[in-house]
């Protein structure tokens, strides 16, 4: 595996069920088919609607090959960073497993535990060094209004974790719904860190929850980005 390798992820932070546009589970499946992992953080609510939201969040993550956690607003920050770390590790472990399989016909679990430790050290090193492309998709439906400061700080905090890695970081932020009739809005294009000022001004809660369109848009951002980079530097190797 060379330095060109990139991990691509979408992180959806939402407090409810999608109610506009295509099915978010299908969107997540499409994204995963393009080599992107979709993680979901659901913010706890109450009542039947919340329960439906949790189930949808879990289905999105399952279809997107990622993780799902339902948390209190105060835990969004720690959860976002834990999930990104664990799913990067998972992706790399899968790659290493495939490599082991093709070289020795064994999975990590087939190895004696002491050798597994060495494999995991390699995984940890790769995780630190691999490039990461991340799109954070923020639910800005009306019910999110009082959670905006917490979500904003959590996204900034996630960026603090990711930008000190050795590997390069490209992070973009979008919100859903967008302005007027738009179902999504690009808050920040790909950059090597989160621009807090743009978050402060752009995050306004209003309207419904177009989660499906947001995942499709996030995936298209990553795929378009990949295309422009490929044209510049030749093909890359990607993991999913």
């Amino acid at each position: 595996m060379g330095k060109e390798a990139t991990i691509r992820q979408i992180l959806v932070i939402t407090d409810g069920c999608s109610n506009i546009g295509p099915d978010p589970v299908d969107a997540a499946r499409r994204a995963h088919g393009r080599g992107i992992v979709v993680n979901v953080i659901g913010i706890v609510g109450d009542g039947e609607a919340a329960q439906k939201g949790y189930e949808e969040a879990q289905s999105i993550a399952d279809a997107g090959g990622g993780m799902c956690r339902i948390v209190q607003p105060a835990d969004i920050s720690a959860t976002a960073q834990m999930m990104t770390h664990q799913t990067m590790q998972m992706t790399l472990q899968q790659v290493v497993n495939q490599e082991l399989m093709s070289v020795m016909g064994k999975t990590t679990e087939d190895l004696p535990p002491a050798e597994r430790s060495r494999v995991m050290q390699v995984v940890a090193k790769l995780e630190e060094e691999i490039a990461l492309q991340l799109v954070v998709a923020l639910d800005m439906s009306a019910s999110m209004r009082d959670k905006i400061p917490t979500v904003r700080e959590a996204v900034r905090d996630l960026s603090l974790s990711l930008q000190v890695r050795t590997g390069s970081l490209e992070v973009a932020v979008l919100s859903f719904p967008g302005k007027g009739e738009e179902s999504t809005r690009l808050v920040q294009p790909f950059s090597n860190k989160v621009d807090v000022a743009s978050l402060e001004s752009a995050l306004v809660a209003r309207g419904g929850t177009p989660t499906g369109p947001a995942i499709d848009y996030a995936a298209s951002l990553i795929i378009d980005r990949q295309r422009t980079v490929d044209e510049a530097d030749g093909p890359r190797r990607d993991f999913a």
Binding site: P113, R116, R118, R165
Partner: protein
Amino acid sequence: MTDKSQVQIPSGTWIVGKWTGRRWRIRGCLGVGANGVVYAVDRDDGLPGAMKVCEGAGQVAFEWSLLERVKGARSSFPAPQQIDDSDHPHAQYFYVMERVGGKPLDKVWLGLRPADRKRVLHEIVAGLAHLHETGYAFCDVKAQNILVDSSDDMRVRFVDAGGVTPLGKAVRQFTPTSDGAFWGVCERRASAQYDLIGVALMALTLDVKPPANVFSQSQEQRRAWLNKAILQVAEPGWRSLLQKVLRGSVTDAPTLARAIQSIPLPKEPDGTDWSAKLMWGSLASATLSTACAWALYLRLI
């Protein structure tokens, strides 16, 4: 990920290792964390241990590799004993380490006298100094990860090596309230300084609880809270040391250990406290008996 509802293995169960052929008997549960469950165990030859069980083989192997890296006679971490698999459905992947005594710092802090607190903080920093010499930082410094044995001269041990990171690399596991980056005072990169700031933040937040809305505050607001909280620290020696650490002017553990050592203890805290209490007590009972005498005299009671 594991939650508290995870089925636990009953005491008395024997866990048989597939690779080592060793057997361990479960004695009870020592704790449940975000990454797994830790059981008190006795090995077939009687060696006591602590068995950490995680859901994934990878997590077990990774934590084991960290324990292996930081082990040594002077290490504050539990010594690694064995890593193995078993057929038990709730202990498929596990490792066994030294079982360490003591209680988590957050449980004992309030009951510690100033001299004990000084000793505990000194021990923590001395443990970090040794760890940093080996090229690693602890990173997940938090009171729950520090066990203090009051029956053994306040001996301090670290548990949960899961956050241990080579110096200079990105921190993967941390607790917001003792994370300098969260408070806007440093980067989230493994370094001696990152750990020392963690200790200062931990010590401060053990005494002064952060506001409930800290997660929705901006970094400027968080820093402002820190500055105010430091002013609430009564001892001038501690106050100025915490300020220095959080400002980033103490960058290595041995320097901080020496600085802690040289902080004077408050004068005869116990003696004065006790006699003062006695004095107030006798004054109160004197007032009370006088009041009773008057009440009796006036036939109020």
